[in-house]
Point group: C3
Chain length 319, copies 3
């Protein structure tokens, strides 16, 4: 494995899940793999879970970490070609990436959507520039449109928690005060589509009108616009807010009738509640649901260690 | 030891001091203890001494560190129950703490007083939330009302520097341009009260009217409002500014007649001058005192390594 | 070696270059040297290359790093003597330095010019305070007027790339939208003057009127104000912007006829193009030059690891 930027990089799901579970049981088993190697984590946006879980994963593998916080004004990067750099950006991605790559063995990069320019976001400019301008392994720590380490952790969690052979998983939009990227729902959707084939999952999306995801993610998905109907018999409810793709970056609804509460959960097959965190209490989900034993959000966060560690281990093994 | 958040967690003082001195003589003697373990340092406020000395202590013990700076706008945390999170705070402490706790073995947390709401500060909300919402060891890196690693370092320093069996220690208020928390005087006071019993110290507090500490700290203390009288015969002068507890968070005085200078020091028994740093020169204390051999502020700062290391060692031993 | 703050600390150039090349061939050969030692990197200004390359160098030497970012408002430091500290600065350099020095074995410090007060900048106040107020080894990670780790990396790169025995090196001013310090040209100049003697380099400076460097650097240099003439037959073109020394910190020109382009490069002896990075594309240098095989800016950045590592190795060996 050289790149981990989408579901296409993971190969066989069952095998990846087994590898993650094995690392969870014996985290230091491959501690020799990362010795004398350096992982650079480049954050164009803040991070708690991703930062800490990836550092922990690296630690388990004996891999050193350097962290570069690039989300202050101190370092603004230019990505456009041919521009006269007489403005704010002090460095071009064409220099920044090969330079950083010389100081480490693997790069993890986080670069959120700006929600201003849809084409720019959906081209994953920063992430792809890292792939283009250096020759070392690259891991997405959440790009403008995907969060594959999260989705991988989600699927590990589902496998740990499922009590039926063919679990029904419902991704539901929920309200939020701010405009959020589509990275998590996009990514979860593409992992669930693969899981539908390889692991026999049933996957349904529900959201208010206007919140359709981009075709590349949305195609071949089952969409049910009535949330109650969608939740019926669900084994897992994955709540998440996202802003509109069609009216790009806009908040079209803050309708709290979409908030997951005990009435909603009562429609399900005693479903587990999932969210990638951080979660807005009593907007996305009510306290009683989140504080109940049905909530597995903390377990999801824990599995961020093992999704990252599986990916790092595979990269180290192929170096 | 599982928690270190106040003097109540330290046990026998002489034993703790001996342990610290022994670590100072042989810092790497317990380097095996922290192997494969991770300490997370969560800073809700900036830090120089605490950050560096705790990292150094961890390094001596073979313990890895992850640092989370949570004092920028990027991560605002909600601590109130039952709230609809449609405002600034993006994450609730109920999720944040158990998540962080899964990524490490010990958590150190710094969370200053906001000086707005006395009840909130004196309930040490953030610190106590960390104890409440996870099950791993917690160390205070300065809470809203206590700074026990500082007080422990102070007492190590006094033990190293004392030349009489029953040293007289005077804590004196001194002026400062900004409103500061009461954490350092509160904490120093409760450690000195314990030292009065166990180590035969004499402890006196002096401050202008209106600067009484909270009862839980102040009770059973000897208070002398005349600074000159209080300083008479002192072996150690500990200067520190704090804002008012009764008129909470207010600056009631900037009276520079309380500044420690050579005339004040002349009243003492050739006392050592102490301060937790950072110190405002010529506000808290004049240059000539701070630059003299009577000042032991640098030595205090060095002992921050060994107070932290003693605490971390005890925690690691009991894991 | 105890200090590395200018070319005067490097000794014989050929020997230093050989040492660096040897470390580049075998980076972990001295991994034992730094064990149980701590390097503190204190940044009063942001850093990418310096931070990462120095961390990587330390990693190669088995040396641990602590990083202190002191460029936010959270920690403002006073350097003047005798001042009443009732303003913004919360800590005096007289305490800060000895405290930091107690927590580590070596200090690296970055402190840019403020471009307000020339005397202050040219006295390298912060850097010299670190030398003055503690007794441990100090490395400049770029001071107000010098960037010796950069210059050392530059000379390693020239040695790797030169194809003639007596290379002609031209330092040329180039336009930039912001006022920049003189640290890089100053430092490069003093290293080139030494290289002229020890390594038989020919060194020429070219710049618009008003951009003379300070006498201590400029003296005994060959200056040619006509850029085209200066570039003739050059083997290396080192472009860099700096603000005026005489009209201190002022931008006197943004004349893009000084931008290095293919026409300029055609005047040279198939010269290599150098810059310390970050570089403003199409201001300092055009895309076609920077993207050509003549550009060795990425190689320069890589050698930042080995200049830092050579310095750290020498310091560790002499401890």
């Amino acid at each position: 494995m050289k790149y981990f930027t989408s579901v296409n990089d993971i190969g066989n799901l069952q095998q990846a899940i087994n590898e993650a579970k094995s690392l969870k049981n014996n985290p230091f088993a491959f501690e020799h793999l990362g010795k004398k190697k350096m992982l650079a984590l480049v954050f164009f946006n803040p991070s708690l879970r991703t930062r800490m879980s990836t550092q922990k994963a690296a630690f388990h593998l004996g891999l050193d970490c350097m962290i570069l916080n690039a989300f202050n004004d101190s370092w603004t990067i230019e990505t456009k070609d041919g521009i006269i750099m007489d403005g704010k950006a002090g460095e071009h991605i064409k220099e920044a990436v090969p330079v950083i790559a010389q100081y480490c063995d693997i790069i993890g990069i986080r670069a959120f959507a700006n929600l201003q320019d849809r084409d720019e976001d959906y081209n994953e400019i920063l992430l792809n520039s890292f792939k283009k301008y250096c020759d070392i392994p690259i891991i997405s720590l959440e790009s403008s449109i995907r969060h594959p380490l999260q989705s991988f952790a989600d699927i590990i969690t589902i496998e740990e928690q499922k009590v039926v052979n063919k679990p029904k998983i419902v991704l539901t939009w929920a309200p939020h005060p701010k405009a959020l990227p589509q990275a998590v729902p996009n990514s979860f959707t593409e992992w669930m589509k693969k899981a539908s084939v390889e692991l026999d999952y049933e996957f349904i999306i529900t959201h208010p009108k206007g919140y359709d995801l981009a075709d590349e993610f949305y195609s071949n998905c089952t969409i049910i616009h009535n949330q109650d109907e969608a939740l019926e018999g669900a084994d897992f409810v994955y709540a998440k807010n996202w802003s509109s793709y069609t009216e790009y970056g806009q908040i079209l609804s803050k309708d709290t009738s979409w908030t997951i509460n005990t009435h909603k959960m009562a429609l399900t097959n005693n479903a587990k509640f999932m969210h990638c965190l951080p979660v807005r209490r009593n907007m996305i989900v009510t306290d009683d649901v989140l504080d109940s034993s049905q909530s597995i959000v903390i377990q999801q966060a824990k599995n961020r260690i093992y999704s990252a560690q599986t990916v790092l281990k595979r990269i180290l093994e192929s170096m």
